[in-house]
């Protein structure tokens, strides 16, 4: 199968399963991009999520474009972007045509009552994976296996500060990320 078709299909498939957008997409895309296809490593993906916060467009779209670009240049970027758009386009168009029926039917609401807690659990797991690429120097899951956990002091300090700032003031992402990048440079490889 040609790489372009493969990129299109991977992102179309991934996007079908994302409900709610935003952070809910991150674990699914990570699973597909990092774990299954190894297009990039976990740290690179975490960088990409950060970049998506300071560029236009949502993370799902941004990561599709980025992966497509890295795998097959601009044609790859186009194929992956079209893939990620397809499910949203088709389902929303269908919903727009039958809108009154969709919004009144209770079954979708009931279905989401089951899906949303699972998505939340999966997002929480993504926090662990992201911590693996910044706060810790060994995977958190290895703590269970061999009882050791390496901590990056710089990563931990920045994480705790960012947590307080984000929780207390919720600044625009660009300021928080710029500050953290600066802190990363100042604290260096500590």
């Amino acid at each position: 199968m040609s790489i372009l078709l493969q990129l299109y299909l991977i992102f179309a498939k991934t996007a079908i399963l994302t409900f709610g957008g935003g952070y809910a997409m991150i674990p699914l895309f990570r699973d597909e991009i990092v774990v299954k296809h190894a297009f990039m490593d976990g740290a690179e993906f975490a960088n990409l999520v950060a970049l998506a916060q300071v560029t236009p467009g949502p993370i799902g779209l941004n990561s599709a474009t980025y992966v497509g670009m890295s795998q097959a240049g601009v044609p790859g970027a186009i194929a992956a972007t079209l893939g990620v758009m397809t499910p949203a386009f088709v389902t929303t168009l269908a919903a727009a045509i039958f809108l009154s029926r969709v919004s009144k039917s209770g079954w979708l609401k009931e279905l989401l009552r089951g899906i949303r807690p699972c998505v939340l659990g999966v997002i929480a797991a993504a926090v662990v994976f992201f911590a693996d690429t910044s706060v810790f120097t060994s995977p958190v899951s290895s703590l269970v296996r061999d009882g050791r956990l390496g901590v990056s002091p710089a990563g931990l300090v920045i994480f705790v500060c960012a947590l307080i700032v984000e929780w207390r003031w919720k600044p625009a992402p660009v300021w928080l990320l710029a500050g953290s990048a600066l802190a990363g440079i100042v604290l260096g490889g500590w």
């Binding site: 957008g21 949203a88 659990g121 960012a162």
Partner: protein
């Protein structure tokens, strides 16, 4: 409603998506100001309905919203114009970023900056998960599903897709339960 031209829909979606960093819900306040207050193409009730519907549908929210608004305003052509205009700026930005990023690999200062950025993103997602949790964790069943999903993904390497499909199964159980209740009542 018929007063809006295809090219003005396209233009609006292009610049709205270009100026809203992070996409999705970040577009809502700008769309509200532009489409409801300035052009009068939509009402506040339309916006609320659009947000509710796009959040219950699969896919990228920004595209969902563009399709829904575009279709409302000008049918299929409007939906196509809005969706494609909405992805131009994000697409261009990431193509540039991807090109620049590969030129910077191996640079210690950039690597250290990205370590800080990853730590901050971890914190941002954690805060957002906690805030989301307030609305989602409303029953013992929802707690069980969320904890099970977390443990399965974080410690047992279970496929995210599998976890979400299991959540859909739980949702089906809710639907069946509601149907039985209706029949009895």
């Amino acid at each position: 409603m018929t007063s809006c031209k295809l090219h003005s829909i396209a233009w609006d979606f292009f610049w709205i998506s270009a100026v809203t960093l992070g996409g999705g819900m970040a577009m809502v306040p700008v769309m509200q100001r532009e489409f409801v207050e300035k052009h009068g193409w939509l009402t506040d009730d339309d916006m609320v309905e659009i947000i509710a519907v796009t959040h219950s549908l699969p896919g990228v929210i920004a595209v969902n919203m563009a399709v829904l608004v575009g279709y409302r305003l000008r049918g299929l052509a409007g939906a196509l114009a809005a969706a494609f205009s909405a992805v131009i700026a994000p697409f261009a930005a990431i193509v540039l970023v991807a090109a620049g990023r590969s030129a910077m690999t191996g640079c210690t200062v950039v690597d250290n900056a990205f370590l800080g950025v990853r730590a901050a993103v971890t914190a941002m997602i954690l805060v957002s998960a906690v805030k989301l949790g307030k609305g989602i964790l409303v029953s013992p069943v929802s707690w069980v599903l969320a904890v099970a999903g977390f443990v399965a993904c974080a410690f047992f390497g279970v496929d995210v897709t599998v976890v979400i499909l299991l959540g859909a199964l739980a949702g089906l159980a809710y639907i069946v339960a509601a149907a039985i209740k209706r029949r009895r009542g």
